[in-house]
Symmetry: none
Subunit: 135 residues, 4 copies
């Protein structure tokens, strides 16, 4: 079961993440997907690398695909890992480094946020700031 995330809430998540990115001084892309993994809101800073567009969307997609932080997937999908190769099973290639986090409202998974453009640690801190905006 999940509640529906509104466009209003997605905008709130995006703003919280964007503010954190500006505080850290990192030009990034921020993407918010709904419970069905479809894009609800997106913003890219003009100085963020172009690759960050698709990486941020894929991080959000990944986080909601598994209801996990993308950074926790890395060890599992390495050669020899428990889920080696799983990243190629979906319509979008899953991203297995940090920067994607599910959005939870109480017990419900209502969507996910993905951030790209900085280091995985920076991206994750920005995604966390977004995720906190709905808790």
């Amino acid at each position: 079961m999940h509640d529906q995330i509104t466009s209003e809430t997605a905008a709130k998540v995006l703003d919280a993440a964007w503010e954190k990115a500006q505080e850290l001084g990192v030009p990034v892309s921020v993407a918010i997907v709904d419970a069905g993994r479809d894009l609800l809101a997106f913003r890219r800073h003009e100085d963020a690398p172009l690759a960050s567009t698709d990486i941020s969307i894929s991080k959000a997609y990944t986080a909601r695909s598994l209801n996990m932080n993308t950074g926790d997937l890395g060890p599992l999908t390495q050669p020899g890992g428990l889920l080696y190769g799983m990243e190629h099973t979906q319509a979008r290639t899953l991203v297995t480094f940090a920067g994607g986090r599910p959005l939870q409202s109480g017990e419900s998974f209502i969507g996910a946020v993905g951030v790209a453009g900085g280091s995985p640690d920076q991206d994750d801190a920005i995604a966390a700031a977004g995720a906190e905006a709905v808790q």
Copy 2:
């Protein structure tokens, strides 16, 4: 020739389009791409049809691919038209009905806006409101 569009300007275009959509009472998706056709900003209303996500992005992509309003492409790509089949020549299938408009700053094409979710006429009116925000 083109100037670079900033994330700030893209947000201004999105807000102008969103306001027009609310005035018309139509739940839509609005997408802004830069001069290179890469996504800069996006927002979908939770009541907009899911198909509107990709249609709005493709409309913006199309408008900047040809520096034309997407509604002007329809007659050209019909059977018997001058450019029959052109919509299948790009990485994304081009959209040949109304709702996508290039963004111009003076003589420069700086990007494009695409809107989907309403009727083509409604989508186009909303896109036009967005495009006017940068002129």
Copy 3:
């Protein structure tokens, strides 16, 4: 049987087409493919529409796929036409309006040239100028 086209010859075709485009005052993309339909040379004017990149390459690809001028394909692929739908049978969607021409050296088909960015008639005149450079 076909002779191999050299990079030198492709450059000569491109230059002849480019000169004709400048004479007509049309910013275009020009693509030259070899006998195997692989890209040998390409140039896009910065004011040509972005869609012209893939359209010019696809026109050259189409012209060599069938050893025909692309403009002659239009009537054949319309609804009710003899080859309706054929344009979707290859790795790249074939283009069925004017602007692509095969390159011939004597009896041999050695490649093709494709032009996009102007009207089909302008594109075809520019492609013809390129094709003449190898005859």
Copy 4:
């Protein structure tokens, strides 16, 4: 921030790279993309491997996607690396070995050059010669 690269400048980059390739005696493909990662200029030597066409274009695409030399990506995307798997997140698969370099004009990233056909070291030396032509 980026300025627009002209077709003229792209031709200058291509010529500088081509000259370097001839000096090294390596038949290669050379591709130049603009700030939006779209192809501006391309040339393949008739003796270069056919695979070099797409590899050179993808190297240029990669270098501009991240504003990095492609050779610096290799360690990051290996198993255990910080960005393991990132190469599969974009419309074109990113190339993570040497031969692609961003083009900079002052502080602006205006595009990228990609070279393939020789060893990664040779390709990189040729790409560097191209990149120097715009500095």
